[in-house]
Symmetry: C2
Subunit: 381 residues, 2 copies
Amino acid sequence: MKNFYKVGLMLTVSALLAGCGNLTNSSLSSHSNGTKTSKVTTTGTSKSGQYSTLLQGGEYHTSAITGLNSESDSDNASNPKSFEAGLLEISKKEFSPDKYFFQEGKMISASQAQKWLGRKSKNNPEGLNPEDNGSTDADKRNPIYLQQLLEQDFYTQNDKNYDLSGMTIGLSMNDVDYYTKEKYGAKFETKISDEQRLSEGREMANEIVNRLRRRSNLKNITITVGLYKQNVNDSLVGGTFFNYGVSSPGQKKVTNWKNISQQNQVLPVVNDEKPINSNDSEDFSNFKNHIQSYFSNLSGVTAQTHYQDGKLKGMAINITTQFYGVAQIDSFTQFVQDAAGKYLPQQPTIEIKIQTVQDPEAILVKDYNTKQYSSHVFASY
Amino acid sequence: MKNFYKVGLMLTVSALLAGCGNLTNSSLSSHSNGTKTSKVTTTGTSKSGQYSTLLQGGEYHTSAITGLNSESDSDNASNPKSFEAGLLEISKKEFSPDKYFFQEGKMISASQAQKWLGRKSKNNPEGLNPEDNGSTDADKRNPIYLQQLLEQDFYTQNDKNYDLSGMTIGLSMNDVDYYTKEKYGAKFETKISDEQRLSEGREMANEIVNRLRRRSNLKNITITVGLYKQNVNDSLVGGTFFNYGVSSPGQKKVTNWKNISQQNQVLPVVNDEKPINSNDSEDFSNFKNHIQSYFSNLSGVTAQTHYQDGKLKGMAINITTQFYGVAQIDSFTQFVQDAAGKYLPQQPTIEIKIQTVQDPEAILVKDYNTKQYSSHVFASY
């Protein structure tokens, strides 16, 4: 494992830009550490602000630790995506896509991550979650704080090689630890406070950085750590990051901790939930009412909203229809576009997906801080 | 029913253009035929070349005859969409979207269409399909030629009213008539030749026009008729139009019949099927092989292709993945965009849908005769 930080040998750097269409294939020798390494290629970027990805041996590398969980019974389907997407955003703050190439983490192995996600015990001295104190009382037991780990690696190009120069570690921390008192028994909950989550998260981050620094290839790279708060199981939206810090090359702990203010919410709000921003919530209600009064057979109109520093940054709207006539979908898409321009807030990134239970039928998108939507109705021949 | 051709009374003409965002609500009186009519609004168009739709009483009107079938046991899921979409294209040749407003047909009632789709018999003198001659032999029986009907209505704006000024009728004709010899029995097939389909289709079209002209409100409008050949049940692509004609105002039959040359095909071709165009087929294979060699876990890469006059006009590509990590989908989308620019033909409209079994993950599209793809990766918060 320890020579993976320097990949090279038989490089194929592919400047694959759409429309440009020329693929250069150059076979080059390299100066890696005497190990057999495989052909490295990169994907081009389709948008500025996105990473080029390193492909190894021609294939996309997936991290072995993605999806590993602690013993806590978390099952919110939105958490994994928002955890990964949010961590990429944090990475971009430290590792500019203009300079760094991305690859999913390969330094932390699955067996290692599994130990770290476990409780500390005689058999598992590396466990980052606290020892089992024997109690099954929600308020007296030691909860599982750390639920998932994620690693993202960042490489810089050095002549014919790509060198590992940065790493981002994500710690997904529980808001609620779901546990059972006996196997297959009823589910109980230990609520974790924001203060506990922050202090436990920072402590674990330091311990992880400290462990990683023991490896010679990780001593002198920048390691960024993001702390993520998982959303509870019954939410239809994922969690958010609340803190991140940086450990500069050589440092054995994380310094420069910074707060991140993010919130997610599903609209329309249900029960007695308070909207994060009542204007946004009303805008969405007006949009929803408008299209529902003109087109019957809409089974659902909901939005996931994403706030940063109190500002609405993104909306992902889902419209489920029970019709799929071509002319009707065309007409409905136009109508939705008109309604979106009229009722929805202008600043955030907005994505509107129109779908039947079987298939997506149409999509409308607009970028952050622009007004103009582009739409596409899916073809079928 | 007979006053439906003139709609008006309490008009709300809404110039709903995205970004423009002003909705004018004007209540106007009207000079309709003394009947109570409901408020008419229109949707704006999001693209040039698309119809504005008339909404009635605020709602989109769906035709009552859409989806009605003859007794033949046709079940290709792609036929209905390609039938409707193709008929809209024919309509655009006669009724320019710049001048005409679209509404799904409301002149032919469901009970009427059901009679027309039936076999001619003592109880059903209006049946357009031939009498049952008693034979169950595939070559001796009279097959069901006409499978479905579709009506599209076109209105022009006349001061404060919208007048019905054009109509397009689609006749979906069988390629194969699927029948059983006894209820719930085995399925047998009568193959219908191109010549039979053409002559039967034209004759039925004349009969339909003749019947419609008996109504005072349909005497003096242009009626266009399109003849569609249904695709067989085991195809993964819909059928195509092969003929269309026009009946000018007052004419009791269709004249000016014109051939339409269209073909659909799924790529990669299977078994011993011959590709419509071997260059296109090879281009697609190269694209498919390229992305499959770089990304494992792709369960399927297929394309629906649509040809007009021997030229590839459109491709709808479907890529099914087994992964849904955010970074991986991002990276894959970039990679697909590069590969599409490099391997796929440049002229046709191309749509590439990347999805897991649960959800669409990303979409790439380019217009006809352009090179540049635009892509969108679906968000999740």
